[in-house]
């Protein structure tokens, strides 16, 4: 039986507009928006594909949503598709962010504005910490066991946030040890 034809973007323009629209909805967390737009509405990916590709996008260095866009754009239109999704994700939001930055620098000497932004940065910090907490369930199935994993997280936190060691050495040493131990525990 012939597989049903996969829906996909008809043109580079459609791809660009889709990722532009997606980026403009992404306040704070894009994950939910990506899933809703690409899986539920456009049906360019199935849910299973989305979960797997998101995992790859997450493991690769770089911003997850941009990585996912690169991978998907490449699949539809090769490197041109990848370039177009990258531009789609960045251009309009970049202009918006720069405008906000200009507005802010104009009013930054007002104590209310400075105070508002200071408090917003505390909220933003909370959001990032919440993202860390949302990843905790992923440790439950981890081959190294929950306590050991929490140990790794705590050691990297202490090294980076409290001792302020360079990220490079922490990643190499702590991340390296963790990967090697995981590799030994996984069945070949």
């Amino acid at each position: 039986m012939e597989p049903a034809p996969r829906p996909g973007p008809a043109s580079l323009t459609e791809l660009f507009l889709a990722f532009n629209w997606l980026a403009l909805q992404g306040f704070g967390g894009v994950l939910a928006v990506v899933q809703r737009e690409l899986v539920e509405r456009k049906r360019w990916m199935t849910l299973d594909e989305f979960v797997e590709e998101w995992a790859v996008a997450q493991v690769m260095p770089g911003p997850n949503v941009i990585n996912l866009g690169l991978m998907l754009g490449d699949r539809f239109f090769g490197w041109r598709g990848a370039a177009v999704t990258l531009l789609g994700l960045m251009t309009v939001p970049l202009v918006l962010v720069l405008c906000l930055g200009l507005v802010y620098s104009h009013f930054q000497n007002q104590p209310q504005v400075a105070g508002a932004l200071r408090a917003m940065s505390a909220v933003a910090a909370g959001l990032i910490m919440a993202t860390a907490c949302k990843l905790l369930p992923a440790l439950r199935k981890h081959v190294l066991g929950m306590p050991f994993c929490i140990g790794v997280a705590v050691v990297s936190f202490v090294a980076v946030a409290l001792v302020r060691m360079p990220l490079m050495s922490v990643l190499l040493v702590v991340g390296g040890i963790s990967c090697v131990l995981t590799w030994r525990k996984l069945k070949p």
């Binding site: 306040f27 990585n67 490449d74 962010v97 802010y104 408090a119 910090a125 910490m129 440790l139």
Partner: protein, 198 residues
């Protein structure tokens, strides 16, 4: 804020961001502590205020969070050009700073992802691929916590130590445990801050 940037400084900055790009396993936000160490503590190219404002503005705006790097680059360039009031020369340097830092943070990671994604997808059952994915997870959690910590410590907590930490922790728990929209929290934070409570 006024700084001097020699050509060698721009090059070092670009190199540092190329390196950070490859280290950004949890997304660039996980490398924020290292950016702070480099830009603010070590070189003094950005003020704490500019550093934190860049992140807060990018979080409050739609779009990929990576745009905080664009704002940092823009601010750094403006600092090098004598500030926003110094005219077109400073704006050009701001744009240059934006391109240097965004180019640096995106180029290596995008190339690696582009080339490795197909391979990784084909080989996702390989032991080495699974070991890398799983092995990095606990570390990524530690790095995200570090980012949150550094942002509060070097930002709001300098003026209002207790309320800043409370606000950050309450937001963290709400985002973690409920489906509340982030904009409500940012808005509430803005109001509390405008009234000088945080």
């Amino acid at each position: 804020m006024n700084i001097h940037m020699a050509p060698g400084d721009w090059l070092a900055l670009f190199g540092q961001y190329l390196l950070l790009s490859l280290l950004s396993v949890s997304g660039a936000i996980g490398t924020v502590p290292d950016m702070h160490r480099y830009l603010v503590d070590q070189h003094g190219w950005l003020s704490d205020m500019q550093f934190n404002a860049s992140i807060a503005i990018a979080q409050a705006a739609p779009g990929p969070n990576i745009l905080f790097v664009a704002l940092m680059g823009w601010n750094l360039g403006l600092n090098a050009g004598g500030g926003l009031g110094a005219g077109p020369h400073a704006w050009a340097l701001g744009m240059f700073g934006l391109l240097v830092m965004m180019g640096g943070i995106l180029l290596p990671s995008s190339l690696v992802t582009y080339n490795a994604a197909r391979w990784g997808q084909r080989n996702r059952h390989r032991r080495s691929v699974r070991a890398f994915k799983q092995g990095m997870t606990p570390m990524v959690i530690g790095l995200l916590l570090s980012t949150g910590w550094v942002l509060v410590r070097n930002g709001a907590a300098e003026q209002h130590p207790v309320s800043a930490w409370v606000l950050a922790l309450v937001s963290a728990v709400l985002v973690w445990r409920t489906r509340i929209h982030l904009l409500w929290l940012l808005g509430a934070g803005a109001i509390l801050g405008a009234f000088g409570l945080v």
